[in-house]
Symmetry: C2
Subunit: 143 residues, 2 copies
DNA sequence: TTCAATTCCTACCAATCAACTAGGATATTA
DNA sequence: TAATATCCTAGTTGATTGGTAGGAATTGAA
């Protein structure tokens, strides 16, 4: 499994916030209840998302979380990288890593670069808005 | 990191065997020495590759391992799946898994399917022959 | 003004997994 | 028969995963 619960739960949370976008702050408990997840665990996951500026928080009663920008401006790659770190297949093609000394004659590295590129293309092309659209398409078939 | 040492070392081993293709059996110790890896660890990794029929083994003195078919017939996806299991981003899109009940209205699943598809396309398109070609291109620049 | 709701923060914990090592049995060739 | 290999099972150590626990700080509403 490429994504751990961190990335998967994080995506679910962010989708929930995207569905709620424009309707004010949403308490974490509501998100946890909707997704049947532990709210204390989700707390840990939303913290880095807030620190990275993807979500804003309001403390106290009637507080909660909301997206800091429009769903169309948040790429799923942003979310995944914050929660999972780099999705590179190997360290030598991970962002910010020092290149290994064999880079120029390493054929496996070429392979890793191709895999990384294809993954990054997908997760940086799809935004939360796309997921919201998918959600509505999947759940409002009868309308 | 998507690939653990199992997949990465496995790929290196198989590339080494591909470079040696047609020249008879290659003992594991030689592979380990060339790659500066632990031969006892590599032993564990080559075992499933043999059981899956990707490599043949010859026991005893002058024995070793060799590819069971041409490098062009072995996809890197074959190797990775044997050593790492499925590269699916989440269980619900992993081969052989029972679909989760929310499949039809789950927007995150759609995302996982797109990621999985792009990864599979890459690793099932590239064969060991491609890696051998890359290797020669990268290491014989002066020729 | 006080209470309930909520975010925020640190620490802990159990179970699993990753990356090996160890030791020996079995097979083959020189 | 000695050396070279594969083959097989088990153990070991450290990190990671997927949480829980407890409480401090903040805010809105009664």
């Amino acid at each position: 499994m490429i994504l751990s619960t961190r990335g998967r739960y994080g995506l679910k949370m962010m989708l929930e916030l995207a569905l709620n976008y424009g309707k004010g702050a949403m308490p974490l408990k509501d998100i946890a209840n909707k997704q049947s997840l532990s709210d204390t665990y989700l707390e840990q996951l939303i913290s880095p998302l807030r620190k990275s500026g993807l979500v804003n928080s309001t403390r106290g009663a009637q507080g909660g979380y909301e997206l800091s920008k429009q769903p169309s401006e948040i790429k799923v790659g942003d979310i995944i990288r914050i929660l999972e770190g780099s999705l590179a297949p190997a360290e030598c093609v991970s962002e910010g890593e020092t290149e290994c000394s064999k880079a120029d004659y390493c054929a496996t590295r070429l392979l890793y670069e191709k895999i990384a590129e294809s993954i990054n293309t997908v997760i940086d092309t799809i935004t939360l808005k796309d997921m919201v659209d998918d959600y509505h398409r999947l759940n409002n078939k009868t309308k």
